[in-house]
Amino acid sequence: MLDIQELEINMGPQHPATHGVLRIILKLDGEKIVGARPVIGYLHRGTEKIFESQTYSGNVPHTDRLDYTAAATSNHAYCGAVEKLLGIEVPRRARVVRVILDELQRIASHLIWLGTHALDIGAMTPFFYNFREREYILDLFEEFCGARLTLHCMKVGGVYDDLPPGWIEKLQRFIEVFDKAVWDYEDLLTGNRIWKQRTIGVGVISPEEAIDWGLTGPPLRGSGVKWDVRRALPYEIYPELEFDIPVGRNGDTYDRYLVRMEEMRQSSRILKQCIQKLEPGDVVAKGVRVLRPKPAEVYFSVEAPKGELGYHILSDGTDKPHRVKVRPPCFVNLQVLPALVKGHLVADVVAVIGTLDIVLGEIDR
């Protein structure tokens, strides 16, 4: 053992910090990382194959299981793609409800990210504070659609049902609580010397590299690229909403952390505007029954909490899609990991995994 120059260790697939079943083969020189190779696929369930054997509407529940921490945006991207394919107009109220669900989901997903990211770096307490607020969101989801995690809350043409009575008041109460809670998280971490030492200068990526690697979402914005699908390729009612796209400066882990923290505040700002914009009306498009589109090919993407989530659908004239290709943001973002950790220490690997905010359900599909 003494003669070994490079130590090769298997980080995962069972490891507390790999957020599921990610496996990384690390080549170490002491604790310094010489090489890293992510090995994925441990959660591959053949979702894209299943998509081909179900009807267009029957596929929506499967989209929940991809990014299981952000089921609403997954539903949204798939339904949006089918609507684009068929030219279905979604009623205005459904659009507002979808944006509300998306932004709640974004907050919930970012809360999981923050909790696990901080836990990986050794700060235990934010995790529990985050889950306390996330619980509110899950309660709201539960009241809306009956599910807490795998929501299945949207359907092709709109959403399943109107908001239950009293839901908006609860949402308003949540926003009040949440606006204060974000500062609690920031108090624990943002100015903390150890947190800064662990994150500043770790996993740096330049804007050009980030674009070349296809990064989207907070990892891209952390490098200072002001790009967000909600603004670049607007959908639903986002063009009417006022919100800022936070960007970082140095492209390191700390900047990505700040970007996500600000995004949570912006989401809460969007939620407040959406409540104002809710008008009575239908929540599902009329005449959407059996979906049997003529042969065509479309791509539709939304800004999921992790980045650009797109669905690429090919129809062949039957009631089942010919091919559904998911463009999962985590899959693309994870690819950059070896470049980010090279030359750093083992401890930085977990920081970088955390800052990329991956969900294996979406990567492995």
Binding site: M1, L7, I9, H15, P16, A17, G30, E31, A118, L119, D120, I121, G122, A123, M124, T125, F127, F128, Y129, R132, L188, L189, N192, I194, W195, Q197, R198, L345, V346, A347, D348, V349, V350
Partner: protein, 355 residues
């Protein structure tokens, strides 16, 4: 207990074997109970800090939780990984537990007691008052490293090995400033006996934490590193090395590692109390008011110890973890110069102010 009852024993036997043995048993019982309940305290305090409830099922107020934990761990299968060195694998948890407990032989929890008048002659509440106790304590605390390194080495696991390596890197970083901080105290007290150090604080009428606040701070920080706790829990940090050097341990051996961690917290808390907070003395021992009150040495001692343990838990709940190069940087670049400066400062204090 009357002297007649023990009269069949020769005074040598009584003084050198029986009384120390009884004291050892009593102190071990106390220490192990405190260690067991420190785990419960940690879980409860952490839970309250983190807005949750914590254990609340085993008995009223979870009072039986440590017992339940113990039974659970003892009933678990003792796994030894394939290719591990079985003897060293067994030796490691013992090597880490024994020094942690052995230190308590030198720790005076009070000066003397008559057990509420049961004994005719007051008996000191410590097993041994060694005149080089501080050296012994530092040495025994360093021995614990062998348990960590051997455990990591013998497990035949790369994560354990990395944990052991980090532990070795850590100990060379924190031991130097820690020892230098202690030397400051020795300068103030003029003795290496822990009992004498407390007596010196009584004579000066001030806890050493006040003149030696820098030493106190350094010792506290290094104590966190010595006990492998957040933010210096690098050798066992869960999110990177699974569990570091004791990844491959289960059952009773795991329980030993786990208890050793709390025993070490207790050691460091006791030592901080003795060296800096006046041991069993009340606050500001020179105040006249203490003459009229019962002295309650054990109460003061344990109260201070628990304040320390609480601090450790609080620190764990608040901070993220250092990276191991950052820990070494902190210890060598900041703590070591600080400890040296502190040593000079305390020497001057001793020379001019306290003489």
């Amino acid at each position: 207990m009357s002297p007649e009852l023990l009269s069949w024993m020769s005074p040598e036997l009584l003084n050198w074997v029986v009384i120390p043995a009884v004291k050892t048993a009593v102190i071990l019982a106390i220490v192990l109970t405190i260690v067991a309940y420190a785990t419960l305290l940690e879980r409860k305090v952490l839970a309250y800090i983190q807005a949750r409830v914590g254990p609340n099922r085993a008995g009223p107020k979870a009072i039986l939780q440590p017992l339940a934990d113990g039974f659970k761990l003892m009933s678990k299968e003792d796994l030894v990984p394939d290719g591990a060195m079985r003897f060293l694998h067994l030796l490691a948890p013992i090597l880490i537990m024994v020094p942690a407990l052995a230190i308590f032989a030198f720790i005076p929890m009070g000066d003397t007691t008559t057990l509420f008048g049961l004994l005719e002659e007051p008996v000191p509440i410590f097993v041994a008052d060694l005149n080089v106790a501080v050296l012994f304590v530092i040495g025994f605390a360093g021995l614990g490293l062998y348990g960590v390194v051997l455990g990591g080495w013998a497990s035949n696991s790369k994560y354990s090995l990395l944990g052991a390596l980090r532990s070795a890197a850590q100990i060379v970083s924190y031991e130097v400033p820690q020892a230098l901080a202690l030397i400051g105290v020795l300068v103030l007290a003029g003795s290496m006996s822990l009992v004498r150090i407390v007596e010196a604080q009584r004579e000066m009428g001030v806890w050493f934490a006040f003149p030696g606040f820098l030493a106190f701070f350094i010792y506290f920080v290094c104590g966190v590193a010595e006990t492998n706790r957040n933010p210096f829990d690098l050798p066992e940090c869960e999110s990177e090395l699974v569990n570091g050097y004791f990844t491959e341990y289960s059952g009773v051996k795991f329980a030993l590692f786990y208890m050793a961690e709390y025993a070490n917290i207790l050691v460091v808390s006791c030592l901080s109390t003795i060296l800096f907070l006046g041991g069993w003395l009340p606050p500001f021992p020179s105040l006249a008011v203490w003459q009229h009150l019962p002295s309650l040495p054990l109460f003061w001692f344990l109260a201070k110890v628990f304040v320390f343990i609480f601090f450790y838990i609080w620190v764990r709940a608040t901070f993220p973890r250092y990276r191991f190069d950052q820990l070494m940087g902190l210890m060598w670049k900041w703590m070591l110069p600080l400890a040296l400066a502190n040593l000079i400062l305390l020497a001057l204090v001793k020379l001019w102010l306290l003489k």
